[in-house]
């Protein structure tokens, strides 16, 4: 429990406005495994909250409990002003859920799917049909409306899944790994759609293992690992915790790394470290850093191939927090190795 960090920062709000989601001390166990182990966080209305973590960290379980698919073993959960355990039925009227498996019916058409969902929300057939039409237009699925979903591309399925989650105009939307397995173009499309929604005041809780996705979409992030929140804050705050900007220098001759480290010493409190083809060092400020560095390296007779400042990415955040490389990078590396072999 000592490691649990509660995300209470930056969400201090004027009295009277309740958080869209408030989770306190959520615990969910499966047998002996504590899949979620005392998670707490708050989400401000109209913002995107990112739950970030590797596979099996407890993200999906958290979403399942928050959407009433599972009941918690302990903890208080309020979503859209409603208690998730005591008033589960009421809560379901105020949320939308889109999952990583794109839960739409393969054998129905896009329109039939949306109409069915609308009617299950309690709309009349006519209302549901009108709402389906609006959503199909918005998600650029009008042409495919009469086709069975089986024939949709991955991106189209996700859009339809998201549309299904929005049928009842829920104030709070849960997106469980919304872009997993999508091609880059479809990811971008979906990101834009999510941004549009928050622009209209919808609160979004998003789980992802893609750091760039959290970085781009989330106003606040909680990083979870082994069922616990191990860090939280805005993307900028999290990056700051890892350290400021880094100067990366690629050398013409990597053997000159010791001279380069010596030459760069005045630029930083810490010593530069040698890497595969150059050196890298954390620097306190941007302005003039590159010019100074180039001058000093030149004076020391070190040949520079390339030089640049790099803002830490969410990958750096993840690595420093969990001691693990983010999952998709691992996968990438494995692929590279396989190709190399």
């Amino acid at each position: 429990m000592a490691r649990t960090v509660t995300a209470m920062h930056s969400i201090e709000k004027p009295a009277g406005s309740e958080p869209a989601i408030q989770v306190t001390g959520l615990v969910k166990t499966y047998g002996h495994v504590r899949a979620v182990d005392g998670v707490s966080f708050q989400v401000t209305p109209g913002t995107v909250f990112g739950l970030l973590g590797p596979n099996g960290a407890g993200k999906t379980t958290t979403v399942r409990v928050l959407t009433t698919l599972q009941s918690p073993d302990a903890g208080d959960i309020r979503v859209a002003g409603v208690d998730a355990v005591a008033d589960a039925a009421q809560l379901r009227e105020r949320i939308g859920l889109a999952g990583q498996y794109a839960a739409v019916d393969d054998m129905l058409t896009g329109e039939e799917n949306l109409v069915m969902v609308g009617r299950l929300y309690g709309m009349s057939r006519k209302q549901a049909k009108a709402r389906a039409g609006e959503l199909l237009t918005r998600f650029e699925l009008t042409e495919a409306a009469g086709r069975v979903v089986k024939k949709y591309s991955g991106g189209m399925r996700r859009r339809l899944d998201l549309a299904a989650a929005l049928v009842a105009r829920p104030p709070v939307l849960f997106l469980d790994e919304p872009t997993t397995g999508l091609d880059p173009r479809s990811r971008l499309d979906l990101w834009e759609m999510i941004e549009e929604l928050t622009g209209e005041g919808t609160t979004v809780l998003l789980t992802t293992q893609y750091l760039d996705e959290a970085d781009r979409l989330a106003d606040d992030i909680a990083v979870i690992d082994h069922g616990k929140v191990i860090a939280s804050g805005t993307p900028a705050e999290l990056k700051q915790r890892v350290g400021g900007e880094r100067l990366e220098v690629k050398l013409e001759d990597p053997a000159q790394a010791p001279q380069a480290i010596e030459a760069l010493a005045p630029l930083s409190d810490e010593r530069a470290v040698a890497e595969e083809d150059g050196v890298t060092v954390a620097v306190a400020r941007r302005n003039g850093t590159i010019v100074t560095a180039v001058q000093r390296l030149g004076a020391a007779g070190v040949g520079v191939d390339d030089i640049g400042l790099r803002t830490p990415t969410m990958d750096d955040v993840f690595l420093s927090l969990t001691g693990k490389v983010a999952e998709h990078e691992q996968a990438q590396q494995t692929n590279d190795e396989e190709v190399a072999a």
Partner: protein, 254 residues
Amino acid sequence: MRRLATDTLITAERNLTRLPRQPDLFTAFTIQPIMFVLLFVYVFGGAIVTPGYDNYKDFLIPGIIVQNIAFGGFITAMGLAEDLNKGLIDRFRSLPMSRAALLAGRTLSDVVTNVTSMTILVITGLIIGFSFDAGVGDIVTGVLLLILFGYAFSWVFAFLGMLVSTPEAANSLGFMLVFPLTFISSAFVPVDSMPEALQVFAEVNPFTVIVDEMRELWVGSPGGSLWQSVAWSVAITAVFAPLAVWRYRKNAER
């Protein structure tokens, strides 16, 4: 309760919309029964002796309809397994709908498919020479009994479908368990033509009870019991509907 009724109808409508788009399923409850009738009548029929009946067709048709109706629930089994498998159950459970409606909608749509295949079988039977020997009242009672018994078996299949993880496994488990039940009964051959051990089983087999009653209702051969047939159907539903609901909850909350 109103919610349950509306949502049951909506999910039943969904299931029925899907059906014609799945040719494999569609033929399973339309073409396949016809094949079985033709196979039994023209291949085995000549070798099966059915004392007390004008011909094997009159003996077979009530029996094969009962068998076919009992298998109607496999659409429920496969559908539920598929929904669980693909995460659609999660979508439904996140909606403010009646959760019981998902199962009720499934079994309700089975009633529609069962009536469809029942009609196909009766028409096939009439074409090849089956004839009713009963009044309208008894024929209608028979139809209602078939619907009730088929409904009971939909719950059996709903339960079986959720014991396994894939639609394919649901299908083969269902066949493995229900096939012997239907064959070691009076559905296809007279029970007293079987070895003694099988006779003992066949006599208490609910399929024998239902088939004998159907024969009494439709072709006027004595030996059936309406109350026993209804009791079996109700009992099967009473046992398997709660089991299915329990298993469904367990699976959905995995």
